[in-house]
Symmetry: C2
Subunit: 132 residues, 2 copies
Amino acid sequence: MAKEVDHIGILVSDLDEATKLYQDCFGARIEKTETLPERGVKATVLALERGTRLELLEPLPDTNMAKVLEKRGEGLHHITFEVDDIDSELSRLAEMGVELIDKKSRPGLEGMVGFIHPKSLRGVLIELCQKV
Amino acid sequence: MAKEVDHIGILVSDLDEATKLYQDCFGARIEKTETLPERGVKATVLALERGTRLELLEPLPDTNMAKVLEKRGEGLHHITFEVDDIDSELSRLAEMGVELIDKKSRPGLEGMVGFIHPKSLRGVLIELCQKV
């Protein structure tokens, strides 16, 4: 069961420009910027006034994410739901026949994460996360 | 300035099937279902445990949204930010050079809404809403 939307991931071609745009347009404030080589991105997490978060993702060169950007362009990429017990949720979904990208959780930006395949979720890439 | 993410819009081909899927996978509960001819959709609003909402959208036949579904397939469609004063936000954005789909707010599912063009926002379709 998902508690809430932890963040919305947005694929962009230029992290600095996109960060400034979302700050200027919506008053979003920067929480952090990190390079995540294992995910093939540099990410900036922005928070809106009441704390809802956007994760802007710029692909690193020669990564799978760079290919996704080239093919699909900028835009909404994934949504992340917070759960209490990620591995039991991933197991429950697998038993339901939902196709998982990550059968077991793995370390993410803030805790353990696991992705579900969009073809099982009406074209939406959903990440589950369990905070530590 | 945006207060928070009010909901995430997801385009689907079959509202009943998608609703059941998101209920079964994530424990989302139905808040309401409405047909919105002026937007060309039938919409079901689902809430996660702590209240974050997903808006599943099934295009009505022979609408622009039906063409969008045919062209792009199912998946993430838009995100909606809640604001205090929608018309002043739309004016401020227009003055910044952001391209708006709605120059003035209009009635939406729960209050006044206005869409911003994705080409001004790194490919993301963003709706502003002001609750009534």
